[in-house]
Symmetry: C2
Subunit: 431 residues, 2 copies
């Protein structure tokens, strides 16, 4: 057994480097073409919802007799509001059900708040100045950051912990700078660390509005609200209730979607807000469109039925996803035992495993893996601007490939990580 | 036969006023509840597309083998691009196919051009100053105007003629003011007059970019591209080709949708642009969403098939719509013969009839009709800010009600119009 590099002599390290380089060369000769980059459901998962098309059986009426085929209703159908309000733990008057993209709702919320104001005339962030900022718990979701980058909103990174963002850091940033207008959160099975925000963190998030300047908003993307991998996965407290307890519901935008329940590209997105925010947002949204696709909303209602129906479906998703996550965890555990070269998360839900290497290795690992046909999310993608200051975080997305593909890809990944680590110890360029 | 007011003495007018007021009173007692306000397809029309849900029969692959259920592809599926490019007369590389709302695409285009720039860094309209303006041919579509009003873009009205906007007026406005960044156009069966832009108007539109300041865009909403009521309805020239002939394709945004081909709320929208604009817009759009609902796009491809399929479907729509438009025309012609109190359009396509009363009557007519249970689009709605400077335009939307309902509503409308006109002649308040 090759000794782990922490205990190895320089000679042993050199031999190890040679062996690992050979191992990588073998991987390279295998002609792999594997992809661990995006949090896409696998075909087996998508097939769980194949009944969607045709489920209406020609019945295009809602329960109130409304014609789903025609225009009308900016905030979605009542049946969809009831279902998704229940999933998010909000009231049916606190929710809007939209089209196929929760990201589109986040983008509109940010754009409207920035330029038009989220709370009536004079409330536009831009009216306070040009240097608007958001807090970005890192590692985080690159598409959240991209919205801010497009809109010219600066991102202030804070560290993610086991139970949510470093709230001490968040609070002191907010106390010091009234131009901070938002924070990105994925409160359950966070992208990519998989952590679940604790009740204490939720309570502190709900109190942020008191420290912040005017019109501060928590952009809370509950993308994985019901996406547990195991029965004993930690629950998330009621986010809206946490804000209600603090009297700060106007500071919360709570997003969700069925993108990873039914069809990733053809699901239904929703947005919970205080009635005041919702009235305002509906007026703004109503200028940009006549209304959402109500027929697809009804397909989802008929298919998902209720909370029990959703739970049953999500258990089937979990059964498909578990072996994939198990493969990732096993390769990391067995391959890196005693190496002290990386730490990683063991999420109990969501779509990602987050690996933190020793500083300065992530870019090299991603490049080495690419050279052997294993595509990983670019190093740095989980940080604002795509720049991880310590170059250590790598996001692994194991949902889409088959288990045998993940096994092969993870073997390559472990080889690359060890090789980069050994080279770093030897003072060689890791890639 | 009562003499028309143009020839009537004051005594005759007074008698006429009394008779018309009694006629209105009879209408009021009929307890009507009719609505001629919105351009919504009727249930019979919607039923033409009832095969959409379920049409995929479990086949969620595109012709290249791609999985329509998953994420991917910001600009829509190739099959939908081919179909809708053909309908708009553009190349398959000049089109993006989106979600259910062309209005949402227009809104995003305007918002991006205003704040981010439609042609790269430094091209944002806002960077030139705060007083951005659009030209609004009037009467026009209130939802177009509302986008500008929301974004703080001023609207400069110009008159609509038989073959498009008053291009002399448009050109002289543009020559004088480089802060004019756009013009709204509905080139075929314009909302509400039903006019079809002539080739000469298209050519002059295509030349506007040379008169205008930088980053000028023609927002061309071809909502009724294939929506003829009769076989001999005037054709529209090829809009993109007109701009190509002038070398100004970067100045054209050409929108369309199936909202009035299949399901009004659950159709597919598309946007044709120069490759340069499209590359830019796709990058911006890709920040706001991962992609459109590809499954619904494929439903439309399977259902509509090709240009012939669309023509066949639209002929069935026309057969449903024609008696409705015939009713409106007959009531106006027969009821107002010799009255010299209003003119109106006799559209050969689209969704509206536009009535111009004598100045100062429109608001009164709409109010009188409402008092008898006939809801009309608010007077002024077809002008920026909802203010028709001459108070004369009324938009009639006959698509949704049944023919017998339109007959009743139009009888009320004619009575109200005559009554308001007679009262005006008598110097009485018309309502």
């Amino acid at each position: 057994m090759t000794p782990a590099p922490a205990q190895a002599t320089t000679e042993q390290l050199a031999a190890l480097e040679k062996a690992l380089a050979q191992e990588l060369e073998q991987h390279r000769c295998a002609g792999l073409n594997l992809d661990l980059t995006r949090g896409k459901p696998s075909p087996e998962q998508l097939a769980l919802a194949d009944a969607l098309d045709g489920i209406l059986e020609g019945d295009y009426r809602d329960s109130a007799g409304g014609d789903l085929r025609n225009y009308g209703g900016i905030d979605g159908i009542a049946e969809a509001k009831a279902l998704f309000a229940d999933l998010l733990g909000v009231g049916t008057d606190d929710i809007l059900v939209g089209g196929n993209s929760s990201l589109a709702l986040m983008h509109l919320c940010a754009m409207f708040a920035l330029h038009l104001g989220a709370a009536g005339p004079g409330s536009a962030w831009r009216s306070e100045g040009q240097d608007i900022k958001f807090i970005a718990p890192c590692p985080g979701y690159d598409r959240h950051f991209a919205i801010c980058e497009q809109l010219g909103i600066a991102l202030l990174p804070v560290a993610m912990g086991q139970d949510g963002p470093d709230m001490d850091a968040v609070e002191s940033l907010l106390r010091a700078d009234p131009m901070i207008k938002g924070i990105w959160c994925v409160p359950r099975f966070s992208n990519p660390t998989g952590c679940v925000y604790s009740d204490a963190v939720l309570a502190r998030l709900a109190r942020l509005a008191r420290l912040a300047g005017p019109n501060f908003r928590v952009f809370c993307d509950n993308a994985y609200a019901v996406h547990a991998l195991t029965d004993d996965a930690p629950a998330l407290g009621n986010v809206m209730q946490a804000f209600r307890d603090e009297g700060t519901t106007d500071a919360l935008y709570l997003f969700g979607s069925t993108s990873k329940m039914t069809f990733a590209g053809a699901g239904v997105a929703f947005l919970a807000m205080s009635p005041r925010n919702l009235a305002h947002f509906k007026t703004q949204l109503g200028v940009s469109q006549i209304g959402p696709d109500k027929i697809n909303q009804m397909r989802h209602v008929r298919f998902l039925r209720d909370r029990d129906g959703v739970q049953h479906l999500m258990a089937r998703h979990a059964a498909i996803l578990r072996p994939r996550f198990d493969s990732v965890g096993r390769h990391l555990r067995e391959g890196l035992e005693g190496w002290d070269i990386a730490s990683w998360t063991e999420p109990r839900g969501g779509y990602f495993v987050s690996v933190d290497t020793l500083p300065g290795l992530a870019t090299a690992v991603v490049r080495l893996a690419a050279s052997a046909g294993v595509k990983l999310t670019p190093a740095g993608a989980t940080y604002p601007g795509g720049r991880d200051p310590q170059d250590r975080n790598i996001r692994i997305a194991p949902s889409f490939p088959r288990v045998d593909e993940i096994d092969r890809a993870m073997a390559v990944f472990v080889t690359c990580l060890k090789l980069a680590g050994v080279r770093q110890r030897l003072g060689l360029p890791p890639c």
